[in-house]
Symmetry: C2
Subunit: 250 residues, 2 copies
């Protein structure tokens, strides 16, 4: 029986990290919420009695309902050859994935630094201030970390050596997303991370990934997802420095 | 040989989730950075060639270096009886832990919504605005989720039933932290989550946890950690609504 992926039907979002793993593994799956009636099924399952997930994405597989992106990847890694079978390697890949997940959360907060229940437009001054910091301090710190992993002890094709894992797929998606959201920044600094760039090309050329990226199953990036291109967030102008902290006596 | 925990020596922070698991499991461990010379050793390992972690906490155990809090707990759960051995139960506990980790990140961002490299005082207007949203929408959503898990299909002692897992220890720490950081809020709403409250009491009374909490090994909450008590962040005054979004033409 097919696996069933439950995720918002119009965005890449966090679900895309799972889609890439399913595609690379050649797993037969249904992207449920993109089918007729699928959204209603997804919403009903979040209220269900069995292992209710806090939020999409979640995966129905082998009779299990598995929530949280990183947890789904842990499962797929073990069952579909996308992670080392031995403990040390499995934990290391999972650790890398958790660090990627941390960056993804920070990317989300560049356009939603105050609240997920407000529109971007209602938190734009704060978004500009957070984005300025993200661009200046966080992107170099994270990309430098992964470039370092790829270079130690000597340049490698993938994060763990010669074999692709789910963390490589996610790193590809992260870099692609950053290039979409912050094109001027990435154009300026991308060449400083040659091993990361080579990894992204290598992932994009995998036969199943290349076929997926060229298909309609791959949704385009857009301004509803995690990686959003808001030109204002890359512009360093006076407004971007944000308000001067008001002093109050408490 | 003892396990070695590497974490900042003066705060509970994310390391506390690991400390609680080590204590409950009765594992022999050294909190390295709290020993003489330990900080230098910790910093050196982050630049080391083998499995360098992105940030503390990390655990040296059985010849492995394991980073990322949730990953360390995955390891401890499997090796020390703090998670179900079978796959479905293990994934479910990990999923719950990842959701707890998401809340912890949001708590951190209530006082640091713009940048981790700035002081709280330099991002206080934004912190007040983010905290107002966290108190109003996020705390009830997250606590309601865990209360629901504890109640389904009928009230349970722990998240998965009658047996404690690492996720229960982390949920205890989360609620304790929220009570410290947002005392007025929690005093107002705590009674609405009776199963969560009972779980916290149950965890605090476990013999090893009770001994730990009464020892000097348990650092007090303070304003350097994740859970910080800044009275201004709970006050709903005019300043807390934040700046009106400035309109610019882009």
């Amino acid at each position: 029986m097919s696996y069933e992926l439950f995720y918002w039907p119009t965005i890449q979002g966090r679900g895309e990290f799972v889609r890439l793993a399913l595609e690379e593994a050649g797993v037969d799956y249904v992207d449920v919420a993109r089918e007729s009636g699928g959204m209603a099924r997804m919403m009903a399952m979040m209220d269900g009695p069995d292992y209710p997930p806090f939020a999409p994405p979640f995966l129905k597989a082998n009779g299990l309902i598995i929530g949280q992106t990183t947890n789904i990847l842990l499962f797929l890694g073990q069952h579909h050859g996308l992670a080392p079978a031995e403990e040390a390697g499995g934990l290391w890949v999972h650790q890398l994935q958790l660090t990627i997940a941390d960056v993804v959360t920070e990317v989300h907060d560049t356009h939603h630094p105050i609240s997920t229940s407000l529109y971007y437009e209602d938190q734009r001054p704060e978004a500009k201030r957070r984005s300025a910091d993200f661009i200046e301090t966080r992107i170099p710190k994270f990309l430098g970390y992964f470039e370092g992993i790829l270079g130690r002890p000597e340049p490698k094709d993938f994060l763990t050596g010669g074999t692709l894992t789910y963390a490589d797929l996610s790193l590809f998606q992260l870099v692609e997303g950053l290039r979409y959201a912050f094109p001027a920044t990435m154009a300026r600094i991308d060449a400083g991370y040659p091993l990361l760039g080579a990894l992204c090309e290598r992932v994009a050329k995998r036969p199943r990934i290349a076929a997926y990226l060229a298909s309609k199953r791959r949704l385009p990036f857009n301004e509803e997802g995690i990686f959003r291109h808001y030109p204002a967030l890359e512009k360093q102008d006076d407004e971007a420095t944000g308000p001067t902290p008001a002093q109050s006596p408490d």
